[in-house]
Amino acid sequence: MEHIPEPLWGRWYPGEQLYAGESAEVYALTLREGSGRACVLKCIRVPYGRADELARVWESVRVQERMADCGGAVAILDECQLEMPAADGRPACTEVLLRMERLDCLAELLREGAQFSEEEIQRLARDLLETLVFARRLNLVHRDIKPANIYRSPSGRWKLGDFGVCAHTDGQSFASAAGTAAYMAPEAAAGKSSGAQEDLYSLGIVLYQLLNGGFLPLTGSDSTYAEIQNSIAARLRGVRVPPVCCRSRQLRRAVLRACDPNPARRYQSAAQMLTVLTPRKRSVLLPACACLLALAAGFTASRLLPSSRRLSPDAVSTAAPIAAVHTAGSDTSASLSAPAAVTERTEVSSGDADVVHRYEVILQPLSWLDAKLWCESRGGHLATITSAEESSQVTELLASAGAQAVWLGADNRNTANGFTWVTGEPFVYAEWGKGEPNNDGGTEYYLMLTHSQDEGWVWNDSRDDGLVLFQTGASGFVCEWEGDAP
């Protein structure tokens, strides 16, 4: 990396090479002065004078950025373009540099021998299906879903990467070659695109592989090279795969249907498959269990349950302490995906006597977008502060948790009129620090609450990855749940 000027984007230093491909290299990227969360630098080389190729690279970057808005794609945090000269001083190639979040690649996890529980596989399926639903809205087909293009964030969220061969479903493609034979839908191999259903087939094969101990359909640990190639060729000819061994009948059926060689018999959309794989709330059948889970997740029982089936105040008062113990102790559902973090919880009443706000501090230095997703996936949202009273409640909680910097639920990324709360509440109360918000560097879109000796707790606008500047274990985010008082 000696040819790249340091530091990049003002403060990032490339480190060891993590990967070297034909036209791209990936390096670790760290802040020399801190030990914050590391990112990666992806360096894509385009021979000088290949304007069309360069345009294609940037187009795939833009697609990935749009997909990252839903949290389902690897986030691109910074970007730039450099003209690299040859030894004689003439321009040799153009390098597109991207700073991206550092995630775990599924292919690499499998190569390292990782095994995944059915719950984790279900989560992967749901996360990627949500991403495909979003892609559908943008009329995009990924066309190369495979373990090497699937990543896991520190919070356990699964994301898609490498949009280099994706295509618009309206037929306007911006790449020539596409797909990997082992995961390719039969119709794609035959040159007849079925649009978004190609992605469902590929995802089905990935899920099958994970449920099958890492082995592709029709193969096993003793399969020879020729047997594996024959099995892939057979699938591409339209041979159906046998049902995979799996405890959940629902998941088994979903995978089998996604892997159907006939696109007409597959799910017609990612949303349809997502519905099948989304666990139904069992509140009607098991009200007591629902009450426990809801309280554990920060809901009040009356918000979750249909009004006609509300529990009696006695039942709630019995369930609440159990739920509190459950929350503080071995919450298995949360441990599957929650980041390992020191948390501080509190429940406070707002001015409106009927509304209860429940806050939770999670000391994990996620990006703002990841933190937002983390809260939303648990039925809450990043905390909003609309009054001095709420502010003091939150800062007391932060002080007792030992936090120095946390994300709050406001940003101005897509708005022209300043910050807006994620809940849509009017942004009328503010406690900005001196000189803030200043949008330093032009990318400070997200609201952070920080503590300093001089000013105490103040607001600051920050970049998506702003928490890397703070000590690990003292930075994170505040989630909020709210509902009617029981």
Binding site: G21, E22, A177, A182, T224
Partner: protein, 355 residues
């Protein structure tokens, strides 16, 4: 699934490229199609469903080595590492040959070589351990009876062998000759004679004197010596470089490679695709080099078809009175050195070192 980018099509496009810009565009267009060890190894590993640990256990290669091949673009450094992988992935002899020649640049398994014969026997029986081949070779090595057997006969007999005892009996009976690749040796000797022919006396220079005269590095002399005395075939890059040093053009190089049990110049290899295109342009711009090569090839050709091809080229050149381009090119190797250094300096690093 049919290959959407067959090698023949790529070769055709490389040969039809008009200048270096064309060639450069071709390389960019088919970037994802060219062979690449990192991509190939990742594919083999991922499709097999084996983890680093499991593959390491099967192949005897360290996990860090396997990781490096997946991540950094490093490749195996010796033929035995490719063979270990072939055993671990359960490849057939034909698949192993493709791995050895396409990615390693080594000749395919040679039925007349004792160790290769042991590998062939075990691979076709579905053996999964390279160590078994070494053990079997240790048993064969005790019987040193060099009885020549035609390559095709040896291959056919090996295919028919069912048990280890039969294999050992076969080796005892037919042995394995010291040296081999007689056709390749004859071809190279003939080329060397042509290069070193004194036009006045009609006698050939000794190899050493020829290499000194042509400024060919001494390592090639060693390669020739190993081939002639012990039948050890140089790696693909060295063989190509040697061919270029001896003035061979595309047809001659293809012939040289096929005699070494290797694929002809492969258009799915970035460097070789570059060579195909550049040699084609060189033949057009400097027909005197093509003529020279055709004359040498005709001298060395043993197949009637190749002889006819050379004669046709010579007569076409004579009839059309081709003229050389004004810029001076002293040799094909010199011209290609410049082209490769310009267009694919990193991939061609090894070949450039030999040129």
């Amino acid at each position: 699934m049919t290959d959407p980018f067959p090698t023949v099509r790529l070769r055709d496009e490389a040969e039809r490229s008009e200048d270096l810009d064309d060639l450069s565009a071709l390389l960019a267009r088919y970037e994802q199609v060219y062979t690449n060890w990192r991509r190939e190894f990742s594919r083999l590993l991922d499709e097999s469903g084996l983890s680093y640990a499991k593959l390491s256990e099967r192949s005897g290669l360290s996990r860090n080595t396997l990781r490096r091949w997946c991540h950094s673009g490093a490749a195996p450094r010796c033929r035995s590492e490719y063979l270990r992988l072939a055993f671990a992935f359960g490849m057939t002899p034909a698949e192993t040959d493709a791995l050895l020649t396409r990615y390693g640049g080594y000749p395919g398994l040679y039925p007349r070589d004792r160790f290769d014969a042991a590998c062939l026997f075990l691979l076709q029986k579905g053996g999964s351990r390279y160590e078994d081949a070494e053990a079997l070779y240790a048993l064969c090595a005790q019987d040193d009876q060099p009885i020549a057997e035609k390559t095709t006969c040896a291959a056919a007999k090996l295919r028919a062998i069912a048990t280890q005892d039969e294999f050992l009996a076969f080796v005892r009976q037919s042995g394995a000759p010291a040296g081999g690749h007689a056709d390749l040796r004859a071809f190279l000797e003939s080329q060397l004679r042509s290069c070193g022919l004194d036009p006045v006396t009609g006698t050939s220079l000794p190899v050493h004197a020829l290499f000194c005269m042509e400024h060919i590095p001494s390592r090639f002399e060693k390669d020739i010596s190993l081939l002639l005395t012990r039948g050890i075939v140089p790696r693909r890059e060295r063989l190509i470089a040697l061919g270029l040093r001896l003035g061979l053009m595309t047809d001659g190089l293809d012939r040289l490679l096929s005699l070494a049990d290797m694929e002809p110049l492969c258009a799915k290899n970035r460097v070789e695709c570059m060579l195909i295109g550049a040699l084609q342009q060189l033949e057009l711009l400097h027909p005197e080099l093509a003529l020279d090569s055709a004359a040498k090839l005709l001298n060395a050709a043993t197949s009637p078809a190749l002889s006819d091809q050379c004669r046709a080229l010579l007569s076409t050149c004579a009839a059309r009175e081709y003229r050389s381009a004004p810029d001076e090119v002293d040799s094909a190797a010199g011209y290609l050195r410049g082209v490769l250094a310009d267009l694919v300096p990193e991939e061609a690093d090894e070949l450039l070192g030999f040129l």
